[in-house]
């Protein structure tokens, strides 16, 4: 076992443990905090994939913005009596079974694929991936259309969400 493997395994166990708690814990605020731990573990995973830009972006956007948005929404919609009942619906065992089956099927499918055991290729040396990404995002023969569409999507999300959530004064 190399050091990298040990780091990977510890992160994976913590992350998956956190994820399990996210979907099982009854208290929603606790679930949100576990979600933050899980997202942090995923950020470490990005780091292990040498996509360090995504590591920081994950923390900034998922933990700094999305998780906080979720906590706000939980606080806005909480009812005390709701916590009393069961937090899962009647078919939860079916859902669990389906997830388990899907997981086994996915792993089985992967294992039959020849590229499954690809080992880490060396990164192109002395290339600043952030720079490459920036160039690709706006260069006309790169990904400029997705780039602009993303901004339109964000605009639509902003306007749509505000219109939906906004309380009209009567």
């Amino acid at each position: 076992m190399t050091v990298l493997q040990v780091i990977f395994l510890i992160t994976a166990v913590v992350t998956l443990g956190g994820a399990v708690l996210v979907v099982t814990v009854r208290n929603l605020i606790h679930a949100a905090l576990w979600l933050i731990l899980t997202l942090f573990g995923v950020a470490v995973m990005y780091g292990l994939l040498s996509a360090t830009f995504f590591t920081v972006i994950q923390v900034v956007i998922y933990i700094g913005a999305i998780a906080i948005l979720m906590i706000f929404a939980i606080m806005l919609t909480r009812r005390v009596k709701q916590e009393a009942g069961s937090s899962v619906n009647k078919g939860w065992w079916l859902a669990g079974l389906m997830s388990l089956v899907l997981f086994t099927a996915l792993v089985w499918m992967f294992s039959t694929w020849s590229g499954f055991q690809t080992t880490l290729p060396v990164m192109p040396a002395n290339v600043d991936m952030v720079k490459v990404l920036g160039t690709a995002l706006v260069s006309p023969n790169g990904y400029v259309i997705p780039f602009e569409i993303a901004s339109v999507l964000l605009l639509a999300a902003l306007i749509g969400a505000v219109v939906v959530a906004w309380e009209r004064k009567s």
Binding site: R78, L154, L155, L158
Partner: protein, 118 residues
């Protein structure tokens, strides 16, 4: 480069230890005699009444929402700024267009009166 990230990792693991140590010392030497009156929630001299969970204004959510949308832009704009050397004027203007579209959203909600804190 890799060494730098190892350093950050070590820092992440060690940084909570310093404040945790500072909390450990009082646990050993400070007195600890809680009683119901002492651990009462402090609320300007009256006894606490009802649920802590008061209903919040939707305004908080709206501001977090606007923040989220503007936060996303950094994913796109930071690489754009870093790659500035290799960009043509056209590519720069694309970045400006990106910002302008978001500004249009800001002005829309401004006109709607969403940004008023009422």
């Amino acid at each position: 480069m890799l060494n730098d990230w190892i350093f950050i990792g070590i820092f992440l693991l060690l940084a909570p230890i310093f404040p945790a140590l500072a909390l450990l010392i009082p646990r050993l030497i400070a007195p600890r005699k809680p009683n119901p009156l002492k651990t009462e929630t402090y609320e300007c001299g009256i006894e606490t009444y009802g649920e802590t969970w008061v209903q919040f204004k939707v305004q908080y959510y709206i501001f977090a929402l606007v923040f989220l949308i503007f936060d996303i832009e950094i994913v796109f704009l930071f690489p754009w700024a870093v790659a500035f050397d290799q960009l043509s004027m056209f590519a720069v203007l694309e970045g400006v267009l990106f910002i302008m579209i978001l500004v249009a959203g800001l002005f829309y909600i401004w006109r709607k009166g969403v940004l008023e804190w009422v």
